[in-house]
Assembly symmetry: C2
Homo-oligomer: 373 residues x 2
């Protein structure tokens, strides 16, 4: 096993802190992974990521397969060498992007056929090819091809997606050739808790180095996702990392950490930054607003990221209003540090047994309201 | 006098090395100033500039006056505080951009009236307001409003532009209120050497802390510009910095340094970078070309900029092809370092009395041909 997970403390409700040890170093959990879609976390570089407190990133297999192609990435020493990022990386299987970005896709038990959104080329992705591509990309953790059904889906379609995901998971395990990468199993089943539990049991019996929840945060009400987490996370193996895919807003991250989730990824903080919304200790701030035009001082007086240490709020606003690339850069670094700080605060709150207090305080400061439930 | 210029060596032909001491530190000359149009050298920040070897930058008064406005910049501690750049800055007068970017402009002896290219607002710029704006922006060196006639212009129009530029220069000197900024006089006159010499004499008699050549590199054949330089630079005061405005391609920089020019500014290296052309010791490289797709190693094996030290050529190409902001960032840093290295090499060549050899070698390596003349 190339991935070691050690939990050092678990609260009654399930929230836990731990450490994940990969071939490219260790990661403190719970952790948030920024998304480097096309081999770059948009508008920042490896040094910026480290300075923002980022420990691990996610890269998209779909995008990298289309451009520049996994052969070129492999020749540069895999994603770590290609991106100049020598810390842990996770790649997704490409399936989610095939279902959300490509056109004219057809799916059957063999795999999925689709048109590239870059040049329209007809492409075919199978569980075996998704593994082969990810082995060339060389991430520390790879994911098996799964089927994420659209919302809403009929019970029959949900069950069919679960069956196919299990079938593909078996083939993905059999297709592995490298012994220095870990693979996580993906649990589907929409918001049907019984189906989710059945699927979790099936995936556990196949045996993975970690378990991920897919098909959540795809448009369903947050309350429904919280219901699935409350009924499912406690049944996920305690000695393996638990990963909630595609989640990155502070509210959902906090609620999921409370249930025992260890890993998250999302474009949320980086996309928000480019659109001019910065995350602060007193809530989201629309930096584009006219009222910010003459504000001295940092984006957040409680933040010590490179942006807040060196630049006035009015400068960041001016650059973003002027569509200057360096403005996206400054706002992105800040939001990434906000997420890294949030994860650090959550770990401290679990270690110090004050998670419920932290949660109430964060909700009051950031959202100005009580937490849900 | 707030600007001290000390020349430490001058070659027979006129090429010289020196040091310019400003309120924000000293600059080794000859020097190249990257352009931070809207308060940011596109795609890089202050730390990147320092790491690339940049000692001084130029910012555009026209753009900053329109957005965010000099009042806001002043409130942030001037351009140095606004941009987080604590080293020397020069601002232009805004005149060149009024003549090249704005629409519906009318010019008379009072000043120039134009429509903002941002929001269409009707604006008026005079020698006095150009000084007032630049005093609020707070650069170390400021420039008087001048009239840069279009190419081609009739002898009558050229003479009229020279007359008006002198008139405006007198008013600009009279309008100064700050004693911690220096002002350079701008010499116009197209490629008419007699007119240029007359104008230079007029500007010298007015008395400025440095002298700049405007209205060159605006589309005329390079040979014509070289002719003006050969006949004019030697007459510029030896105890003041000599600035060739808007020039930044290596060939023109080298030829102008040879005649005794000390300062340059241009968007050339940064714009080239964003368009996917990187400057290397063996010439310009079109990084977008397919042949670069699988190239390992740095953009230039002789370069030790942060981009070349940390990233493969194929990665920079991939990012630029994918329109990833970080690709523009990496290529920009490299081109800025190339220019900083070129200026450093030119200074060494002057110090070591081998400028003519350096010039021939550079031309051979970079352009694959003999230098002109």
């Amino acid at each position: 096993m190339t991935l070691i997970y050690e939990s050092s403390k678990t609260l009654d409700r399930g929230a836990r802190i731990g450490k994940m040890i990969t071939p490219h170093g260790s990661v403190n959990t719970p952790t948030f992974m920024p998304v480097g879609t096309a081999g770059s976390v948009k508008a920042v570089g490896p040094r910026d990521l480290s300075e923002a407190g980022v420990e691990m990133i996610l890269a998209n297999t779909y995008h990298l397969h289309l451009r520049p192609g996994e052969e070129i990435v492999a020749r540069m020493g895999g994603l770590h060498g290609f991106m100049g990022w020598n810390r842990p990386i996770l790649t997704d299987s490409g399936g989610f992007q095939v279902f959300s970005l490509s056109s004219l896709r057809t799916v059957d038990d063999d795999g999925v056929t689709f048109n590239s959104h870059v040049d329209g080329a007809r492409l075919h992705l199978t569980p075996e090819s998704a593994v082969a591509i990810q082995e060339k990309l060389g991430a520390d953790i790879i994911m098996p091809l799964d089927q994420c059904p659209p919302l809403p889906s009929s019970p029959g379609d949900l069950a069919e997606a679960v069956r196919r995901t299990t079938h593909w998971a078996e083939r993905s395990l059999a297709a592995r050739r490298r012994d220095d990468q870990s693979m996580f199993g993906i649990i589907q089943g929409g918001v049907d808790l019984d189906l989710r539990r059945e699927h979790l049991d099936d995936m556990i019996s196949l045996g993975f180095e970690g378990y991920a929840l897919g098909g959540l945060s795809v448009g369903e009400p947050l309350e429904e996702m919280y219901g699935v987490l409350a009924g499912l996370v406690g049944r996920m193996p305690g000695d393996r990392p638990r990963y909630l895919m595609g989640v990155g807003s502070p509210d959902a991250v906090i609620e999921a950490v409370r249930e025992g989730i260890d890993m998250f990824d999302s474009v949320y903080p980086t996309r928000m930054a480019r659109h001019g919304t910065v995350m602060t200790s007193s809530g989201p701030l629309t930096i584009r607003n006219a009222v910010q035009a003459d504000r001295t001082g940092p984006l957040d007086p409680r933040c010590d990221c490179p942006t807040c240490r060196n630049f006035h709020r009015a400068y960041v606003r001016h650059l973003i209003k002027s569509r200057e690339v360096f403005g996206y850069h400054l706002a992105t670094i800040h939001n990434l540090r906000f997420m890294a700080d949030l994860m650090c605060d959550l770990r401290s709150a679990i270690a110090g047994d004050y998670l419920e207090d932290f949660r109430r305080e964060f909700w009051a400061n950031y959202y100005g309201e009580e937490p849900p439930r």
